[in-house]
Each structure stands twice: as C-alpha cells, then as structure tokens.
C-alpha cells in the first residue's frame, strides 16, 4: 500500500469513529469489540466524543462546604479554597459536576474522602471534617418574576475523623 492509500484509510477510519460516536450509533450497533476499540480511541485522541456541552439541558450546579473541627472544638471553621480567577473557579465547579455525575453514591463517597484527606493534609490540627454538597436550584424565569430566588438544597453530606 502506498502512502496515499494509508492516509485515505486512516482518515476514513477516524471519521467513521467520530460519526458513530457523535450520532450515538454505537448504542444501536452494540458490538463489544467495536465499542471497546472506539472507547480506547476516544480516551487517547479525544476526537470521537459526545460534544454536546450544555445539551440537551443545562443542569444545576453545586456548592461545596467543608466544616473542619479541631480536637475539643465544637463550633469548627469553614475550610476555604483559594480560587483566584474564573478559570480556577470553573475547574473547581467542574469537579463538583463530576462528583454528581451518574448519581453514584460510591463515586461521591470517594470524592468526599479525597476532599477530607486534602483538608487534613493542609491543616494537620484538624480532627474531624464534615463535607456537605449543596445543589443550587435555579428558578424558572416566570418563577423569578414572582420573586423566587436561587435556593440551595443539601445534596450530599458525610463526615470523616482522624480516628
């Protein structure tokens, strides 16, 4: 095979993968070897992915609150994160979206445990950490016109201590 043929073959395979992924055809084909190959290609090249950002709907976002307690301290203090600009804030918020992705409790527990360890490493005097994630409920436009404001509802809460 000459270079031209190889190039044509690779371009064809590449765009077949891209089209199958974006059109969700892989759900219809449902052939494991193909799905595995496409997933592998996607995880390396990032070209064949679902590009529907904010589609079909814009989901709610989340707030993370971490209350840290030192030994014999009952009131505790809010553990704050340094997010100096919009890019850092968006990264932080993206982490909360990934946390809630798929509504998997085991995944949420893993993330919460990771945040707790992070806090305990940053402040070694911390004895206990309460991790709370709040979901921001954004009212619809007509509800907002009637005076409804953005509200927060507790989405997930857990605690960890050093013992």
């Amino acid at each position: 095979m000459n270079t031209k043929k190889v190039r044509r073959f690779l371009i064809t395979i590449h765009f077949v993968f891209v089209c199958i992924t974006v059109s969700h055809l892989y759900e219809l084909i449902n052939w494991k070897p193909l799905s595995a190959l496409m997933e592998l290609y996607s995880s390396v090249s990032y070209t064949n992915r679902n590009f529907g950002f904010f589609a079909p709907t814009v989901n709610d976002d989340f707030n993370l609150k971490i209350r840290a307690f030192r030994k014999d301290d009952k009131s505790g203090y809010d553990f704050l994160f340094y997010m100096p600009d919009s890019e850092n804030r968006i990264r932080f918020s993206t982490m909360l979206w990934h946390f809630a992705e798929g509504n998997s409790i085991s995944q949420m527990d893993l993330y919460a445990r990771s945040w707790a360890i992070y806090c305990m490493n940053k402040d070694t005097t911390i004895d206990k950490v309460v991790v709370s994630v709040y979901k921001n409920n954004i009212p619809m436009m007509n509800q907002c016109e009637m005076g409804k404001k953005i509200s927060q509802a507790l989405y997930y809460e857990t605690s960890f201590d050093t013992k």
Binding site: L40, S43, N50, G52, V58, Y82, I90, Y118
Partner: protein, 323 residues
Amino acid sequence: MQNRLNKIVESIFIFIEVEKPLYPLLFFRMGLSLICFGKFFVLYSNYLNFYGQYGLIQWTISKLSNYSFLPHIGDLAFLFSKYLHLSADRSAELILQLFFCACLFLFLGLFTRIASIICFFLHLTFINTGNGIIYGVDVFTQLSLFYAMFFPLSSAWSLDVLIGISKVKEKSVAAGVSIRVIQIQLCIVYLSTGIEKCFGEQWLNGEAIWRTLMMPIFKNYNFYWIAGFPYIPHVLGIIVLIIELGYAFFMWRKGIRVLWLFLIISLHFNIGLLMGMWYFAFIMIFLSIFAFGDDVISDVRFYRRNNRMLKDLNTLRGPSASI
C-alpha cells in the same frame, strides 16, 4: 454500482486532498502552544491542588477511574522518584515544567514533531490525572494536540527549516488535508451539539440561556432583570441553535462564511465574557480561525477585487453609462 461508489469516494478524497497554503499551520502551531501554556499558567497557583498526589482528587482515585495503560502523573512520579530521587510533588512540578518547555519548542518550531508528541503525551497525562476537573477546553486542546502530531507543522516558518531538518513550502497537499480534517471535525462538533440542544426544551424556550446566566459559578454579572423580558433569552437560545446548526452548512458557502465565522467568534467571545470560560472560548475561536480563516480571507479578497473592478468599469464607462 461499484463504479459509482468508487467515483463518490474519489470525489470526497479529491475534496480533502486539496493544495492549501502553509501559513494557517504557523497560526495553528503558535496558537496551540500559547493556549497550552496559558491554560496551565493560570492554574499554576493551584497546580498541586488539582494535580498533586494529595490534591483535591488524589492520585489513587484518578488512577482508579482510568485505563491502567493511560499515562498518569503518578506513574511518571514513580519513575522520577526511583531514578532522580524526587518527591511526588516535585515530580509533578517537573512534569509541568517539561510541558512548558515542550510548548516553547512547539511555538518556535524546533524539533516540532517531537515537541508535539511530548505535548500530546503530557497533556494526556494531565487530563488523566485531573479527570475530575476536565471540561471542554481540555477536550479540544487534546484533540488539537492529537492532530498536531500528524500535521506538517515544521514546514511553516519554523526553526526546523533554519537548521535544515525541514523544508519550507508555500503550499502543500498535506497542509490542505490538515485544514480539511479540522474543518470536517468542527462541522461534526457543531452539528452534533446543535442537534442535541434541539432535543432539549430548555434551548427552544430560552430557559437554557437563563439558567446559564443565573448559575452562581458563571454569574459574572447580575441578570435577574432578564426574567422580565423572557423573549431575550428565548431569541438568544434560538440564535445559538441557528449558529451551531448552520456552521456545518454555511461555512462551505462562499461569502456567507465570512458572516458565519464572525457569528461563531461572537458566540464564543460572549461565552468567555458572560461565563468566564475564556480558555474554552480561545480554543474554539482559534480552531475556527485555523479551519476557515484562509477561505474567509480569500472570500474577502475576491469581493474586494470584484468591487474594485466594478468601480473601474463604471469609471471607464463614464457618467452617461451609469444612467
């Protein structure tokens, strides 16, 4: 039937394998390296919090949710600690410094192919380690770096040409294929995202725009007043859909693509301005300019030339001719 199919395939590849100038590849090389550099430069103050061993998402967790063979900062840190006796955090910092060096090499076009492969590999390492914090900008940067490995980036005004590794060219089929591949990729991206948005009621009734503007994370300005004028987000939602769906069709139309490129740039500029997602805006604008910039410039030149010719013709005919 077979003959007809062969003809269709051949005409598709004649369309893809077109000869194009190389200067867009210079823009691609420099722009991509600047975006890669800038993206991590703004995260520098929080680098270890996002990518460190005991950062917000610890390595044991990010490693768990990946294919084991994909590169991870933890794997490289293990090698660095074994052979260079560096701590995990110092290794993570060294990987970032290596990435910055690779970006500089890519920017200058020095050992371009190797630099783009290193950038691709290290960026993949970052997004696999920080898989809990990735969003659109990382997806499109990785996608661009993937393509960069195959593009003839060194042929376009690079140091590789100066030291004789590569030959300078004005036009080439490889440059044409590179541009066409990104053009097709972007059309697929915008068409698919436009179609998916159409399936959601929120984009058709304006709630999506409203929610995006009101989200505390994106709330850079106070948009409560917009609830009193629901037709504004409604119209904006429809405009977003038209721009995204129309991209795949109108970017191929001579003349109208000048308007469509302006519309897509405006859309992403507003995403940056209103949502603070500047790096996402930069990469999307950058990719569209790379893909269709040369065609748009040709269109503008063509129309200017035509206008000048018409003016010259009218002057030659004199005032009586125009009556």
